[in-house]
């Protein structure tokens, strides 16, 4: 997961894996694993929505993040907000007015890069549920170590020792940044570097999405 030479960066992504359609009740489900971090995502929708929450021309997206131990706190709420904004940007919710889409994310093990794992699992779950999307999205986390080195997909220990942690949600069509969530201090130049690194890394993740779906439908198509 590290690297770096002086002008050519060579960053690595941890081993990642995904399994779709592993739960029988939800309309779409997936588990996404990045190294030791694993997350389970389930999607229900489009389904009936409560009158108090309905929007007349769009579907109402609700994101619920559940940790393993204890009650959800403000940190989970802010992560829910980040995930929800990314999903709303890519889902074609105007095709399902007055309906509800519910995304539930369960942390199975947290070993760093949790927010990007949430985003990846969410995208795969939406694909499994067959929800209409204008683009796919993926999450990439970069950590800037104290000596300025950029590490992608950091583990929990690397995150703790870093001076800044940046997570970006990148879309698949134009590699634009859909959402960014950062912690710590960094310079403008470092920010642009991390965005460029995330865009390069996202290509690998999108390739992985394509391969998974190809493999999944290889028997039917």
């Amino acid at each position: 997961m590290e690297v770096c030479s002086s002008d050519g960066f060579n960053v690595t992504l941890r081993e990642f894996g995904c399994e779709q359609c592993l739960l029988s009740r939800p309309d779409g489900s997936s588990s996404f694993i990045q190294g030791d971090t694993s997350v389970l995502a389930a999607v229900y929708g489009p389904a009936e929505v409560k009158v108090s929450k309905e929007i007349y021309d769009r579907a109402t997206l609700e994101v619920v993040i559940q940790t393993k131990v204890g009650l959800p706190s403000v940190k989970e709420r802010s992560q829910e907000q980040c995930v929800r904004e990314t999903c709303e940007a890519s889902l074609l919710s105007s095709l399902h007015p007055r309906s509800s889409l519910t995304l539930i994310l369960q942390v199975l093990h947290d070993d760093g890069s949790l927010l990007s794992c949430f985003l990846n699992a969410a995208c795969m779950a939406f694909m499994d549920a067959g929800l209409p999307m204008s683009c796919l999205f993926c999450g990439v986390t970069c950590a800037i170590a104290r000596d300025g080195q950029v590490i992608t997909d950091p583990t929990a220990t690397q995150e703790k020792e870093s001076r800044a942690l940046l997570t970006f949600a990148i879309d698949s069509t134009e590699q634009k940044v859909l959402m960014s969530s950062t912690k710590g201090s960094f310079s403008v130049h470092e920010l642009q570097e991390c965005i460029a690194i995330s865009q390069m890394a996202s290509e690998k993740i999108f390739q992985f999405y394509r391969e998974s779906v190809q493999r999944r439908y290889s028997k039917t198509l």
Partner: protein, 405 residues
């Protein structure tokens, strides 16, 4: 979200099939579904698959002050959550009858049966004891949540290891996992719950009902036993009337099932211990089945990028420099802080902005300085009186001006 209601024809079909001793998935009356037990990466995390029902249990611990009535005993805390993931009928935060029933049964099964030695959890009598917290999350509800929960909880407790503690006089040191090996909990016996569903007022009985069968059942009998044939708890719900022979027969069936399940848990724990000793990676990631068409794994990949620094520098130089912003908050006099001095105030009525508003002009958008670089005014601007209409119901608005230094 509401769950789809059960149709009458489905209900009749299920009941008729049960009368003919047939089950939807082809099991026999006393058969359990396939049970799969896997453990997570850290100690105390256990996943149980009972057919399609999936449950995850996580055990954690922390030091707390003990209860006054029991100063030398540790505390066991159970928290069962019906995640909305498990079924569309489960709503977050809604305390339903099912949730209370499951929580209570889990507490009776594990706490009241005294399967864990709580006195060994005491560190300093009357001051510090370990509180063992068991969180169980339902991941998929396909019937018989209670059995899966009890298996997951007891397997997680058997798997869990708490940090070692050293006491020197008044000081208590908790050693991390790297300093000293963590210690397992002392478990006397493993109580496991077995559920029996009754149909047609107790005439027909099924073990391990699936979700459809649970919907049409009349009543449920839950028997918690350990492999030494000791009954830890019995609960009958649904208002059916059972004969003494029926209850005894159920407990005999339960003892057979419990011994099988206990062997399964012991085997899973053995396998996990062996894998950890050999240094192999354990966890959800490893237990993911590779041969399935719906699963794919990618090995560690490098992302090559050359010219990255140059690309980044170009972007940074290409962008216009952001406008100068006054440091905020500005302190014009001691005790007074001013945030946003010199910003363009858009609370007043600005004609240009109103053109874009189609509805009856509510507040126009507040302009953010960083984006609009051209039209900023520096320096003080006149204070705009916010509400001066006669029919305003507010009392007179007094605007405090900052003391000029």
């Amino acid at each position: 979200m509401r769950d789809t209601p059960l149709s009458n024809c489905e209900r009749d079909f299920l009941l008729k099939a049960i009368e003919e001793k047939k089950r939807l998935d082809g099991r026999q009356t006393y058969d359990y579904r396939n049970i799969k037990i896997t453990f997570g990466t850290d100690y105390g995390c256990c996943f149980v698959d009972l057919g399609k029902t999936r449950v995850m249990a996580q055990v954690s611990c922390e030091l707390v002050t003990p209860k006054e009535s029991r100063p030398n005993e540790g505390i066991m805390f159970f928290n069962l959550e019906l995640s909305p993931m498990a079924s569309p009928a489960f709503e977050l935060g809604r305390s339903s009858e099912l949730l209370v029933k499951l929580n209570r049964q889990l507490e009776r099964c594990l706490r009241n049966s005294k399967c864990i030695d709580t006195e060994s959890l005491c560190v300093v009598s009357g001051e510090k004891v370990w509180q063992i917290r068991v969180d169980v999350h339902m991941l998929n509800h396909d019937g018989n949540l209670m059995d899966a929960t009890s298996i997951a909880a007891i397997a997680a407790l058997s798997h869990f290891k708490r940090p070692d503690v050293g006491i020197q006089g008044d000081e208590v040191t908790v050693y991390s996992a790297q300093e000293r090996d963590p210690i397992a909990l002392s478990i006397y016996h493993m109580p496991i719950c077995v559920s029996f569903a009754f149909f047609q007022q107790g005439t027909y009985l099924l073990v391990d009902p699936c979700e459809r069968e649970e919907r049409v059942m009349d009543g449920l009998l839950m028997v918690a036993m350990n492999k030494h044939r000791e009954i830890c708890s019995i609960q009958s719900s649904g208002g059916i009337m059972l004969l003494k022979e029926q209850v005894l027969r159920c407990s005999k069936i339960a003892s057979v099932k419990v011994s099988e399940i206990t062997d399964l848990i012991a085997k899973a724990l053995e396998n996990d211990k062996k894998a950890r000793k050999e240094g192999r990676k354990c966890g959800f990631a490893e237990s993911m089945p590779q041969e399935r068409i719906t699963a794919l794994k990618n090995l560690e990949t490098t992302v090559e990028m050359t010219d990255l620094t140059k690309q980044a520098s170009d972007i940074v130089e290409g962008v216009e420099a952001p406008a100068e912003m006054a440091l905020s908050p500005v302190v014009p006099a001691p005790g007074v802080g001013q945030v946003g001095a010199g910003l363009q105030n858009a609370w007043g009525l600005e004609d240009e902005e109103d053109d874009e508003e189609e509805e009856d002009g509510d507040e126009p958008e507040v302009t953010i300085v960083a984006e609009k670089r051209g039209n900023k005014k520096k320096g003080e601007r006149p204070v705009v009186i916010i509400s001066d209409s006669e029919d305003s119901e507010e009392e007179e608005v007094v605007i405090l001006n900052p003391e000029s230094s």
